[in-house]
């Protein structure tokens, strides 16, 4: 029973926020357009946060996602204009997208290799990667953004009225949730995060799994980068500055533990949406973007404190 309460806590907070905003601003908030808008806006960080969920459950962290977001965009956009000039064909845009995704996967794999092969702490390894990737993204085109005005599909396209980015977001959620709950790889992620020594003793190939986890995280960051790039029809070398913190916040609000072994994709989604709806709601009721930071900060601390509190209670009962 207590466990149920604990697991529903972030979800309950989300429902509460939506309910309050619905009562407060029924005309502007409670509309399909507004909801789709929030979903579309949360899809980029949401997809990245799903990857971060895997990493945090394994007991790690990835600070490089913001930089990698920019690097993937630059790689993809660079490929498109190199091969296709101002008006790249669909084929070339697809190729650019593949390059962007690949850059993400490789970026994640590098972090994973630094952590497992050089035995660096994830915080340090990805702190280095964060600077490295940002540097590369900036150096590539002398710090200039690249315009890809015809790359609109992921950002603006829609299928049956549902934005493509939202569909991708939902697909990522479903796949990632299934991987975590229903595959041996997913089980190993929990085991590594819960007790890496015990996992190793039990025959889990810890290094291989960790490289896989960071690669997957990088790949999802690449996907997020493609959507972000398509939305602004440009690749910015300064994109995603500070994104890692928003993403980590979403995962933690969703009930994951930074010490590993705990967390779910649904929790992360709830965390992502909670932050998005708060931003959205604040804007609608006229709270400035600067003041919104205060609101978000308070919510992060409250959410994690509540989680700790209910957990301690449950621990006492056990």
């Amino acid at each position: 029973m207590k466990k149920l309460v604990r697991e529903l806590l972030p979800f309950g907070s989300l429902v509460l926020v939506i309910a309050i905003l619905s009562l407060w601003q029924p005309d502007s908030f409670l509309t399909l357009d507004n909801f789709l808008n929030v979903l579309r806006r949360s899809s980029v960080y949401g997809i990245v946060a799903v990857g971060m969920t895997f990493i945090i459950i394994s007991g790690g962290i990835d600070l490089s996602v913001g930089s990698l977001l920019a690097l993937c965009g630059m790689c993809a956009a660079g490929t498109m204009i190199r091969l296709g000039g101002e008006e790249p064909t669909v084929g070339i845009m697809a190729m650019g997208t593949a390059v962007g995704l690949l850059a993400g996967a490789v970026g994640g794999m590098v972090s994973g290799a630094l952590i497992t092969k050089l035995k660096l702490q994830p915080f340090i390894a990805t702190l280095g990667a964060m600077s490295l990737y940002r540097g590369i993204a900036l150096v590539m085109y002398d710090g200039q953004p690249i315009n890809v005005s015809s790359y609109r599909y992921l950002g603006e396209g829609a299928l049956l009225g549902i934005p493509i980015s939202v569909i991708l977001f939902l697909a990522v959620i479903a796949t990632a949730g299934a991987i975590l709950q229903f595959t041996r790889f997913g089980r190993h992620i929990y085991a590594i995060g819960s007790n890496v020594e015990a996992a190793h003793h039990a025959g889990v190939r810890v290094d291989r799994s960790l490289i896989g986890i960071y690669t997957l995280g990088g790949l999802l960051t690449g996907l997020g980068a493609m959507i972000a790039m398509s939305r602004t029809v440009s690749a910015q070398p300064t994109a995603g500055v500070g994104a890692e913190l928003d993403v980590i916040a979403a995962v933690v609000i969703g009930g994951a533990s930074l010490s590993g072994g705990r967390g779910t994709v649904t929790g992360t989604i709830v965390g992502t949406l909670l932050i998005s709806f708060l931003h959205n709601g604040c804007t609608l009721v006229g709270i400035s973007t600067n003041a919104q930071l205060i609101v978000i900060g308070v919510v992060i601390v409250l959410a994690v404190a509540m989680d700790q509190f209910t957990r301690r209670k449950a621990g006492d009962a056990a």
Binding site: F182, R184, Y190, A191, S194, N195, H201, A202, G203
Partner: protein
Amino acid sequence: MALCPRVESSQFALEMLGISKSFGPIKALENVTLRVQQGTVHALVGENGAGKSTLMKILAGVHQPGAGTIVRNGNTCAWKDPSDSLAAGVAMIYQELSLAPDLTIAENVWLGIEPRGPLPGTYSKSRILADTRALAERHGFDVDPNQKVENLPSSTCQIVEVLKAIARNAEILVMDEPTSSCGEHGVAVILEMVKKLSRGGTTIIYISHRLEEVVEIARDITVLRDGRAVHTGPINDLKIPDIVTLMVGRNLSDYFPKKKVEVGSTALNVSELSSQTVENISFDLRWGEIVGVAGLVGAGRTELARVLCGLDPSIHGSVAIDGRITKIAKPADAISSGVMYVTEDRKRTGLCLDLPAAWNMTLPCLTELGMKHILNLGRENEIAEETAKKLSLKWSGPGALASALSGGNQQKLLLGRAIIAQSRLWVLDEPTRGVDIAAKIDIYELIGRMVADGKAVLIISSDLPELFGITDRILVMRRGRLVADLVTSETNPEAVMQLAAVDKGRT
């Protein structure tokens, strides 16, 4: 000069009278009395689980006694906290040392009680150096106070711990297995230190498995067995074999009769196996056989198991299973070759405590269950439930967190892995440590059933009656080497203890 001793003051520096302590249904100590004379070395010996550490934790104020009193200098004491006992002059020096490796010897000795420096918030470096030097000289220790602790041998670390205790005005030192991680030279250093301390008037309670040390330095001895003090008195009329007999005493076969099992062909052949920590190990294990590995803590038993199960690399020698040379380079290789290692440290290297019990059971065996990629959660739970029945596991269900289970049931989760993986060769490292009697018997019965089923079991244990109760043969290890391969029915605990504890050339 008129000395005026109080009537009740005795020659005892410390008396623990009629101490009893229970943890739930388990009686850890029953009416134990320990009297330690001022300025002597008093040895406290007993097998693992005999109650030594519980008694010392009560002395340290970590636990409170269920019954009985502690008398220090004629005053009855009730210590609620380790700081209370330290204030009364009793200091513990535990096996795991608690020094800060990056600080110097002097800084460690005065940590937390630094003499104030000229400015607020500072301490006088020159003073702690001088004080440490004086303290060391007074007790005849040769240490450089300015040296970092990081690079010191463990025997010197023990000296630092002792200085730290003395700097806090300790008059009674409790040393728990101070030589367990020392080489030959380190042992000599520590014994010398103890003798010097004792000559200087410090009272020492000395806990050790190494009986030759005990008879060398102690004046009195108290032997604990199953939570009772079975002997206490001066050591001079006792020889090592006498002490061993007092320690072992009981016979497990009383409540676990070993069943006769037809022994099959050679299951495991280990030939000249060496690693960083074990040297030139050769032995055989046959299907249907239970072979014990005896030895002191640090003799290399766990290290042998780690090499066999792919946790540590071997640098020489070979392992053959069923006559075929088998390369086991990582734990997964061991599991797929039918070898399951059950760790001695289930909390640190065995279980994922905050994950469900069922997940813990199936973790190493998912491939064997046909779940190489995709899990079948329904079937997983079914198998877990089934295995739980075979183990008489007490849990609220497969979803119960491993941390919510008792020690015995946690141990059964790990044993369940071998059942689920249908491992043929079980390597069990202290499988009944910290487990209550009922669960112990369940575990013995399980082992008995498994060998009757043609499996082979290698069991590492510090509990000699256990080894004598259930094994066919006993291997004895000492300092990384195999020193004896004995048929259980043809030997006795005293002989095994002697082989394990006594170095040739010493005593």
